[in-house]
């Protein structure tokens, strides 16, 4: 690992610990909810940005990928009877109840990421020959199709939704909620690491070339379809991973919540507002927009519906005034300052 990567890793771990102990210091409770909400959007925005920001392919299906992750947790929870488990006997080791979440949550995350990643790959294969608005519409269709399937699938609760009951305790954590929060925190940090790594390797360079001119990129040797498929799969997998943790936190999942338009709008708005050409853009956007939404929501200043309206208006303002987002504004200011 080179020095830059090592320093970045140390920074990520430090930021993670700061968030964890910061939330603890504030007394958990409501602050755990705020932190979870923001971290969830850090993942969704970062994941969306891999295809949408770097590659210029606008994905309106974020809610679909997120919900696939959430429902994979619901499915396996029921199918494997995880809720009723008091211990897991693996032969050499027996895992007792307080340690079961250490196995179950990461397994759910992997399963959610795998399913959403595969759906991303399949969707990408069918749709990535389309460009521009045609691709965007096809991803919107993915979310609609997935929602229709879930609505009519009684095994995972159908329109009623399904409960995922939290285990009573987790060893080493003050509460199960804190453990789930840490799980989302880890996914967020891993997402940021992945986005930064992509940005600096062939995949990122190729996606930036695709965003500017796809034919020209092809003629320069960029295997555009292959890179777009990789990006869609990684992006979908990260969204699925975030979705897989969601049921453990809220304990109840229904199609309206899992496929909520808010997930899609926020995952587009946050990179747009933060800046789409750098891994930090979606993070800045998620923290600012997510924080503001939570603050106004908690004070009953703004309803969730009105919040969407505000997000839409902000998107329009940024597209018109600062198309490179807050990071772009900062860069411009920095260039002006150094002149």
């Amino acid at each position: 690992m080179n020095r830059s990567n090592l320093l970045f890793l140390i920074g990520l771990v430090a930021a993670g610990l700061l968030i964890l102990f910061g939330v603890r210091a504030m007394g958990g409770g409501y602050y755990q909810l705020v932190a979870f909400y923001i971290l969830q959007y850090v993942v969704l925005a970062t994941a969306w940005n891999i295809l949408g920001g770097y590659g210029g392919y606008v994905n309106f299906g974020s809610a679909g990928f997120f919900a696939i992750g959430a429902y994979s947790t619901v499915f396996f929870n029921k199918f494997l009877g995880i809720q009723a488990l008091k211990m897991i006997d693996l032969g050499l080791v027996t895992i007792t109840a307080p340690f079961i979440p250490y196995l179950v949550v990461p397994a759910a995350v992997l399963a959610g990421a795998l399913f959403a990643g595969l759906v991303g790959l399949g969707t990408g294969y069918l749709t990535l020959r389309l460009r521009g608005v045609f691709f965007a519409i096809s991803t919107l269709a993915l979310a609609v199709v997935a929602q229709t399937v879930v609505l009519n699938w009684s095994y995972v609760g159908g329109a009623r939704g399904a409960y995922v009951i939290k285990p009573p305790a987790v060893a080493g954590f003050s509460s199960v909620t804190e453990f789930v929060l840490v799980s989302m925190l880890v996914i967020a940090l891993v997402s940021i690491w992945i986005a930064r790594t992509i940005e600096r390797n062939k995949l990122g360079v190729g996606l930036l070339a695709i965003r500017d001119d796809e034919d020209s990129a092809e003629c320069a040797g960029v295997p555009t379809l292959k890179l777009k498929l990789q990006a869609t799969m990684i992006s979908g997998a990260l969204m699925g991973a975030a979705g897989a943790v969601f049921p453990f936190f809220v304990t109840y999942v229904d199609p309206i919540g899992a496929f909520n338009l808010v997930h899609t709008v926020n995952s587009i708005a946050m990179p747009l507002i933060g800046g789409m050409t750098h891994w930090a853009g979606p993070v800045v956007g998620a923290v600012l927009l997510g924080g503001v939404q939570q603050y106004f929501g908690s004070k009953n200043i703004i309803t969730p519906e009105l919040s969407l309206l505000v997000v839409g208006a902000l998107m329009m303002v940024f597209v018109a005034v600062a198309p490179n987002g807050i990071l772009g504004l900062f860069k411009r200011f920095w260039a002006w300052w150094r002149r």
Binding site: K202, V205, G206, L208, A209, R211, D212, D213, D215, S216, A217, E218, C219, A220, G221, V222, P223, T224, L225, T277
Partner: protein
Amino acid sequence: MTDRLLNVTGLHKRFGGFVVLNGIDFHVNRGERVGLIGPNGSGKSTMVNCLSGVIPIDAGTIDFGGERLDGLKPHQRAYRGLARSFQIPRPFFRMSVLENVRVSMMFAAGHRAGRSLSDREIDTGAKHALDQVGLSARLANTAGDLTQIDLRKLELARAIATQPRLLIADESMAGLAASETDEILALLLELNRQGVAIIMIEHIMRAVSSFADRLVVLATGAKIADGPTSAVLSDPLVERIYLGD
């Protein structure tokens, strides 16, 4: 070993009911300088797009260095050494000049080398290509800020960085002043001296006649002449169809 690098037979392309290329046969030898000319709408740009794989052909074969290219994607053709520039420059506008050329080095040159090139190799190769076209002083400029002549040079630098065996220069001199045309011409001649075969598509007859060893003339989707430059230019049919009565 045959001297033939590119061999096109029976190339056919139609858009709906409109036949743009009607059974074109032509070839390019290794290291040759070929001019592809024809009036507007004769099918030159479609030919370039078909050869580079940007649009699929309807019928015919494209053989390059003994390998069939038809059916391959543009990047796969670039890996085999077929490069093109665009008539209207299409750089990666938000990238710097150096980053633009790095893309070609990273993907096409890397593939041709059979391994991932190191950052240093990519930088060195990209800077060398930019040096060849005289853009060394503009490495950090954003491509979107370049002048027309510099954009043309950048197009060529990106193509050069793919380390081509054949370069299709699609109207690389369009819209340039006479002195700028000479600059591009000198650049293409130098590239050819290094062994790269070049197809020049151009309307500036002074440039084509001084550059090409051989001319291929298209008119309304058909090849009407193919031969040594001086002979083709004095062909009465070419004079009438292309140069006017």
